[in-house]
Each structure stands twice: as structure tokens, then as C-alpha cells.
């Protein structure tokens, strides 16, 4: 074939390929992960909630720093110790035209136990005892015990119309037959791990969204996602890898958007009498657990140079962490100052504790769950070796790490934790409170940390409906946990988005969600 004919052929193919992307009211997103199902009650997965938020609404919404906002409910308050009253928004209709009423709320909540999967949504309804419909726009939720965090649980509780009836599951939702919500977009089509195609719903109560048609492409591979943006196949991508961030930041054709995430990398030192992996001094296994000594934990903390972690290891894509959640979250305390790096004081503390020559310890981390976990792991091991410890750092795949961590097989571990609800109870109840299956606390407490003082203050908080009193109790709990070095926070990870320059504006969210209706086009003319 002559060269020119070949070139023409390729150009024709290229034109055909490029043609559909030309409409201005279209938004194409390249995202790392998408939903596993269109049934909004199937899974608690973050990327599931993010995607389905476009089709379905929740009673309570959360703003970009996770503080509560009205959603389908316009207001909520506890009217008795165990009764929450939700006032619903009037005049809202589902995509098929039926009006939204209290019956739909009751149906949605009661539907969950029957249809939810291994990432069980019963998590969000664990405090719900019964749902009582008072009138079309008033719902009373009767709770098991006092449940101050109920509105937070409802930020991912999607509402489906009661008329779809019981017995519909993933098949009906995935085909679109039952995918009817009140959200800003209608469902058009979806392929597992493929594209989710959405179309504007004109009658949404928040007003019209800027995009007529939204395609959420799932592109899990980092390099492929970046290539899709650079070649113009998508308008915006999420989770830009740190290695590409620098070049994109200097590229005039690309805008980057950076924000703190909810995820913090925490060191989890086991304080149990017997450690799962032996600790050695001068090559000999010792009987006691040095990590039980607060001075040792303080020494570990002081030996971490968080500025180096942020600026060198993460290339600027992080913020030093001084407690288990970012500033501004419900329960964050101002009483803890910035963490200091003081290797001399750390060595002194270690000597005082009886380990002048240090010890040898295993340190296990995840290596692919969040950006930078493996490199932070290695950097920490080096920082502690300056302190005189011999640290055997090992970064494992999440599929290996999490089951073993659940079995408490690690003496010292590190993984990321996100305070996804924006308030302290979520994190403290799971990771810091003593392990107590009966009360449902401490499921993720793998260190054996148990401080009655902390437990009392925290539990008092969970039993307090008054917002200010509860905040004060959680702040006190934060102080206790951090003084004890129950866990040692290292860095808050940042998330980066990147889009075609000067085409859109976007305020990044701390929960890392990419919401099409919060992205606005920049008018060129």
C-alpha cells in the first residue's frame, strides 16, 4: 500500500474515533474505580456510593469537608432519646414521575438486609430499630439505644421508590429496569468495570446540572488513565499518581486540583503481653513487649520526621498528621500541637526504658492500597534505624495484609484509615476502643490497646445527643488516645485530580468523590 493511502486511512479512522467526543455539554470522566452494581443497597464500597450518588439521593448529604447538609431530608432532630424525626423535602419526583414520600424512605431502609452483599450496608442501619411513617413528609426512626450519629450513617443511605417492590436485585438494577432514583442524572447504561453512562434529569430539586450527558469510564491502570487525559479521550481524571503530578503541574494544557483526603497512614504498635512476631535484643528473643512502655512508643513517634515524609517521600502530596483525622472533623482537638521531630530526646526515652541498644522488630505495611504506603513504610524503617532499632520492613499486597491483620499476626503494622463519616465515633469505635464484640466496639483494634479512661469518655460521647457536649467528649478522647500513642499517625495523604486546562472548575472533596454535578464548565466565549 502506498504511504499516503495508509496515512489517509489512519486519519479517517482517527476522525471516526474522535467524532463522538465533540458535543460541548458532555463530560467524560476517567476514574480509577466504579460501582460493582447499580443496586444502591448492595455494597458500602466508596466508589459505589460515589457513582450511584448521581442516580439516587440520600436523606442527608455531606459537603466537601464532610459536614452534614440537607439532602432529601430538609431537617432532622432527636425528639426523644431513641427517636429521630426527619422532615422530608416536598415536591421531589423520581425519574419516572412518581412523587417521593415517606413510604419510600421506610421501604429503602427495610430493603437493605435482604439485598446487601459482603460489603454489608447493614452497617448504616445497625442503630435502626423501626421506621414509622407519620405523614407523607415526616418519618420517625426508632433506634436501638441512643444513636447520635444516625444522620451521619444516612449520608450513604440511598432512597429507591417503594413501587419497585421487594424481590428486585442486582439484575433489575443493572439492566436499568429498577434504576430509578431522584438524583441529578438518569441511568442510561452500565457495564461492570466499564462505562457508566448518565443523562441529565431536568426536574432535579437542586436545579439543573451543567452536563447533558456524563460518561464515567473506569480506567484502573494509572498510566492508562493519565494517557486518556493527555490524548483528550477524557475531560477529568482522579487519583493522578505522584510520578505524573510534577510534569502535569508544569503542563499548560492540564489543570491539576489537589486536596487533603480523609486517609491517614497510622502505625499500629501491638501492646499485648505476647507479641505475634518476636522482638529481639542483640539477636535474642525477649519475653517482654517493649511497645507496652509508653516511653518506647513516644520514642518511635519522636523519631519520625514528618516533613521529610511529606516533602521528600511523597513529593509534597501530603500533610503531616498529628491525630487520627484531619482538621475540622467532628472530634478533632486543637490541644495537640504539631508533632515534633527530636531524635535525641527519642534516644533518651529509649535508654530510659531500658533499650540503650535498641531492638529488632518486624514492621508490616500495605503496598498498594493508597498512594505512597510502601515508600512511607521504607522511610519509617530508616528513620527508626537512626534511633538504633533494627526494623525489618515488609510491604504486602492488601489481599495478604488484611486477613493477617484481622488475625492480629503483626507486631507492628501500618495501613491507611479514613474517617469517612467526618466524625470521630467512626474511627474511635473501630480502632481505639477496647475490643468488645458485645458492644460492637474495637473490631479493628489490632494492637490490644485498652484504656478504661478513653473507653469511658468515648462511650459517654456516643450516648450524648447534645452536639456541643458530644464534640467536647470526642475531643477529650482524641487527646487521651494521642497522649497514649495508641496509634501513631504519620501523614494525611492528598489526592490529585487533573483536567483539560481552562475547560472546567472543580472543588476537590476530602472524601475523594468525583461528582459530575459539582464540576462546572468554563465558558469559553
Amino acid at each position: 500500500m502506498p504511504k499516503s493511502a495508509l496515512r489517509t486511512g489512519i486519519a479517517v479512522i482517527a476522525l471516526l474515533a474522535a467524532a463522538p467526543a465533540a458535543f460541548s455539554q458532555d463530560l467524560t470522566l476517567g476514574l480509577r474505580a466504579g460501582p460493582d452494581s447499580i443496586d444502591p443497597h448492595w455494597s458500602t464500597l466508596g466508589s459505589q456510593a460515589e457513582a450511584l450518588r448521581h442516580i439516587f439521593d440520600t436523606l442527608v448529604d455531606a459537603d466537601d469537608t464532610l459536614q452534614l447538609q440537607p439532602g432529601l431530608a430538609v431537617s432532622w432532630e432527636p425528639i426523644e432519646e431513641t427517636v429521630w424525626e426527619f422532615k422530608l423535602r416536598e415536591g421531589v419526583t423520581f425519574h419516572d414521575g412518581t412523587p417521593f414520600t415517606a413510604e419510600d424512605v421506610k421501604f429503602s431502609i427495610e430493603r437493605i438486609p435482604g439485598v446487601t452483599g459482603p460489603m454489608s450496608m447493614t452497617l448504616y442501619t445497625k442503630y435502626v430499630d423501626t421506621v414509622e411513617v407519620i405523614d407523607d413528609y415526616t418519618v420517625h426512626v426508632h433506634t436501638r439505644g441512643i444513636a447520635p450519629a444516625l444522620p451521619n450513617d444516612f449520608t450513604r443511605m440511598f432512597i429507591v421508590p417503594s413501587e419497585i417492590g421487594e424481590g428486585v436485585g442486582n439484575e433489575e438494577f443493572n439492566s436499568g429496569e429498577a434504576a430509578i432514583g431522584t438524583g441529578p442524572y438518569r441511568f442510561v447504561s452500565w457495564q461492570p468495570k466499564g462505562d457508566l453512562v448518565l443523562e441529565r434529569y431536568e426536574d432535579h430539586w437542586r436545579g439543573e446540572t451543567p452536563w447533558e450527558r456524563v460518561v464515567r469510564k473506569e480506567i484502573p491502570d494509572d498510566a492508562a488513565r493519565v494517557a486518556a487525559l493527555r490524548s483528550g479521550a477524557v475531560d477529568l481524571i482522579n487519583y493522578v499518581p505522584a510520578s505524573d503530578f510534577m510534569s502535569m503541574d508544569n503542563n499548560p494544557q492540564i489543570d491539576t486540583f489537589t486536596a487533603d483526603s480523609v486517609y491517614i497512614l497510622n502505625v499500629q504498635p501491638s501492646v499485648k503481653d505476647e507479641v505475634p512476631q518476636p522482638i529481639r535484643v542483640n539477636g535474642r528473643v525477649i519475653d517482654e513487649n517493649p511497645l507496652q512502655d509508653l516511653r518506647v512508643r513516644k520514642a518511635l513517634d519522636l523519631a519520625i520526621n514528618r516533613d521529610v515524609l511529606v516533602n521528600v517521600v511523597l513529593e509534597g502530596l501530603g500533610t503531616p498528621a498529628n491525630q487520627l483525622m484531619p482538621e475540622g472533623f467532628f472530634g478533632y482537638t486543637d490541644e495537640i500541637g504539631e508533632k515534633e521531630y527530636d531524635i535525641d530526646q527519642a534516644r533518651e526515652l529509649l535508654t530510659d526504658a531500658g533499650y540503650p541498644d535498641g531492638f529488632e522488630i518486624d514492621f508490616t505495611c500495605t503496598n498498594n492500597r493508597v498512594p505512597g504506603d510502601a515508600v512511607i513504610c521504607e522511610a519509617l524503617a530508616q528513620m527508626w534505624s537512626r534511633l538504633g532499632l533494627k526494623v525489618n520492613a515488609q510491604a504486602l499486597d492488601g489481599t495478604v495484609f488484611f486477613p493477617a491483620a484481622a488475625n492480629e499476626e503483626y507486631t507492628m503494622a501500618m495501613s491507611a484509615w479514613g474517617t469517612l463519616t467526618g466524625e470521630a465515633a467512626y474511627t474511635y469505635g473501630a480502632m481505639v476502643h477496647s475490643k468488645d464484640p458485645e458492644k460492637g466496639f474495637g473490631n479493628f483494634n489490632r494492637t490490644g490497646y485498652s484504656n478504661p479512661e478513653f473507653d469511658d469518655v468515648f462511650v459517654a460521647g456516643t450516648q450524648t445527643l447534645d452536639v456541643d457536649e458530644r464534640r467536647a467528649l470526642y475531643e477529650e478522647a482524641s487527646r487521651i488516645a494521642m497522649e497514649d500513642r495508641a496509634l501513631i499517625p504519620t501523614v494525611i495523604l492528598q489526592t490529585v485530580w487533573a483536567g483539560k486546562a481552562d475547560t472546567l472548575t472543580f472543588t476537590p472533596r476530602v472524601d475523594q468523590e468525583t461528582r459530575a454535578y459539582e464540576i462546572h464548565p468554563v465558558d469559553a466565549e
Partner: protein
């Protein structure tokens, strides 16, 4: 022929059983999928309920027996992540992979075999040496890197072809395939080239080695002495004689590419089965992992069987009966 099929079938059943046990034990050893999937804030009660609901509290042998029992009834299980049947899931992704692999193997064969024949026919010429040097590049440079280069070159800088994904589907002979549209072809061409390079290198080297050897043999000398033109000697006699190793490798490569085209599928975001299995492994979606690997075994058994039949066509000395 009949005895051959029966013995092959029996072998296949034994292999599939052995494979299912290995996969099951291996997957079991990795750990409990619930611990990977569960939301951090879940209570111990929710966790225990889930473990019971999915039968993960049962001993290994009982889980295995109930799996085998379901398979015997034609039920290969439901995905824990998507809650759809595993067979449906695999077969919904298979057409995409088939397209990619067929185009890739097509490119590899159509370019690799003639190039290898030429390189073996004139082993000392400059172009033969150039072909051999390129073939070394083909199988020594990592696939993902070449993939990125292709994307950077053709999608980002030149903007001729899309950077990834599968194109529009059209209907061809009643089958829904993206190979029926121009847009589909524009999407498939880069990943197919990427996937074909390794195989092309392999084909070139195999064909060349066979060719060089065959050209020294007596039958070629006799044919030449008889005055047959070289074209006829090469295509009618030599090609047929060197086909057996080529067909063997072709078959194995076809199988492994179908099953594990995962690197190319990831780099080009191609919605095939390779990506499905990797995602399932990362999420410990046990039913999908086990079923998929068993389907792969079946695939290999079928391919090997086909190759044996092709052998008999190529070389009359090969007898399928297996006697003697």
C-alpha cells in the same frame, strides 16, 4: 480416533479435578475475602453473619464438596462482588478478549511467518539480520512499556488513534463485535499490535530455525536437483515440514493470550477477561477466581486436542489412536 477422544476426555477430567483442588486450596490459604471486602466500621456481628452466609466458616473440604456439588448441577457460583453468575460474567467479557487476541495472533502470523521464512531462506542477507534483531526486541522489551510508547506516540502526540477502551460494536454475521465498525478497529489496532509483538518475535525465530535446518536437508537438495523452483520448494514442502513446532507454539500462545492478556488489557483499558481475573484476585472474589481458572484449564485442553488433530493432518506419520 474414537479411543483417542475418550482417553483425552478422561485425562481432561483428571486435570480439571486436580486444578480445582489446587486453586481451591491456594485461594483458601490467602485468607478470608470478608476481611478484605468488609467496611472498616462493621461490627463483629455483621462480620460473623457474612462469614456464615457465604459458608466461609465451614472447613475447607466441606466448602470444596459443596462447590463440586453445585458444579455438578451446572451452577458455577455467583460473584461475591457483582452478585451475578460467574459464567455470565466471564462470557460477557470473552468477546472483547477474543477480538483482541484474534487480531493480535493474525498480525503475528501474517507478518511473523513470512518474515521468518525469508530470514531462514537468506540467512546472511542484511534484511534477514534486521528481522532477527527486531524479533529480539519483540520478546525482550516488556509489553507494558511498548504499550505506553504506542499510546504516547499514536494517541497523545499524533492523536491518530484512541488511547484505550473498546470501540462501538456492530453486527457482523449475527455476532455483535467491535470488529464490524471502523471505530472498533481504531480501538483494537494499538493493543493488538502491542500484544502481537512477543508472539511475532517467537514466530519469526521458530520459522527461521526450522527453515535454516530444512534447507540443508536431502529432500530440498533432491527437489532442487529435480529443477523445482524455490518458491514451490519452500511453500509446498519446507513450510509443511517445519509447521509442527510452529503450530504447537501457536496453540499454546493462543491459549495463554486468551487467558492472560492482562498486561495489555490493563494498559489499554480493554474490557476483557484478563482484567476481570486480576480485579477478582485483588478483591479475593473466590467464585470468579476458581471458576475462571477451571475454564482456562478446559480451554487449554480443547486447544491441545485441536493441535493434535492438526498434527495428524500435517504429518501422516502421527497416528491419533496412540497405539504402538
Amino acid at each position: 480416533m474414537f479411543g483417542f477422544i475418550i482417553s483425552r476426555l478422561l485425562q481432561a477430567i483428571v486435570v480439571i479435578f486436580a486444578m480445582s483442588i489446587i486453586v481451591f486450596v491456594g485461594v483458601y490459604a490467602i485468607g478470608n475475602p470478608i476481611d478484605v471486602m468488609i467496611d472498616p466500621a462493621a461490627t463483629a456481628e455483621i462480620r460473623d453473619n457474612l462469614i456464615r452466609q457465604y459458608g466461609l466458616d465451614q472447613p475447607l473440604w466441606r466448602q470444596y464438596l459443596s462447590f463440586i456439588g453445585n458444579v455438578a448441577q451446572g451452577d458455577l457460583g455467583r460473584s461475591m462482588v457483582y452478585n451475578t453468575s460467574v459464567t455470565g460474567l466471564v462470557f460477557s467479557r470473552l468477546p472483547a478478549t477474543l477480538e483482541l487476541v484474534l487480531v493480535a495472533i493474525g498480525i503475528a502470523t501474517l507478518i511473523g511467518i513470512p518474515a521468518g521464512l525469508y530470514a531462514g531462506y537468506r540467512p546472511n542477507s542484511f534484511s534477514a539480520k534486521a528481522i532477527m534483531a527486531l524479533s529480539i526486541l519483540g520478546f525482550s522489551v516488556p509489553t507494558f512499556w511498548i504499550g505506553m510508547l504506542l499510546i504516547m506516540g499514536f494517541a497523545v502526540h499524533l492523536g491518530w488513534l484512541p488511547s484505550g477502551g473498546r470501540g462501538d460494536e456492530g453486527r457482523f454475521l449475527g455476532i455483535s463485535t467491535s470488529l464490524a465498525t471502523a471505530n472498533g478497529w481504531s480501538h483494537v489496532i494499538l493493543p493488538a499490535i502491542n500484544l502481537s509483538l512477543f508472539k511475532m518475535g517467537l514466530m519469526i525465530r521458530l520459522t527461521r530455525a526450522g527453515m535454516v535446518e530444512a534447507m540443508q536437508t536431502d529432500y530440498v537438495k533432491f527437489a532442487r536437483a529435480q529443477g523445482l523452483p524455490d518458491r514451490q520448494i519452500v511453500f509446498q514442502h519446507v513450510l509443511r515440514n517445519i509447521s509442527i513446532p510452529v503450530v504447537t507454539v501457536f496453540g499454546l500462545e493462543l491459549g495463554s493470550t486468551l487467558a492472560f492478556a492482562v498486561v495489555t488489557e490493563s494498559v489499554f483499558n480493554w474490557p476483557g477477561v484478563g482484567k476481570l481475573i486480576i480485579d477478582s484476585i485483588l478483591q479475593l472474589d473466590r467464585p470468579v477466581m476458581v471458576t475462571y481458572l477451571i475454564l482456562v484449564v478446559i480451554l487449554f485442553v480443547i486447544i491441545n486436542f485441536t493441535i493434535d488433530v492438526v498434527y495428524a493432518r500435517l504429518d501422516p506419520r502421527v497416528r491419533l489412536g496412540g497405539t504402538k
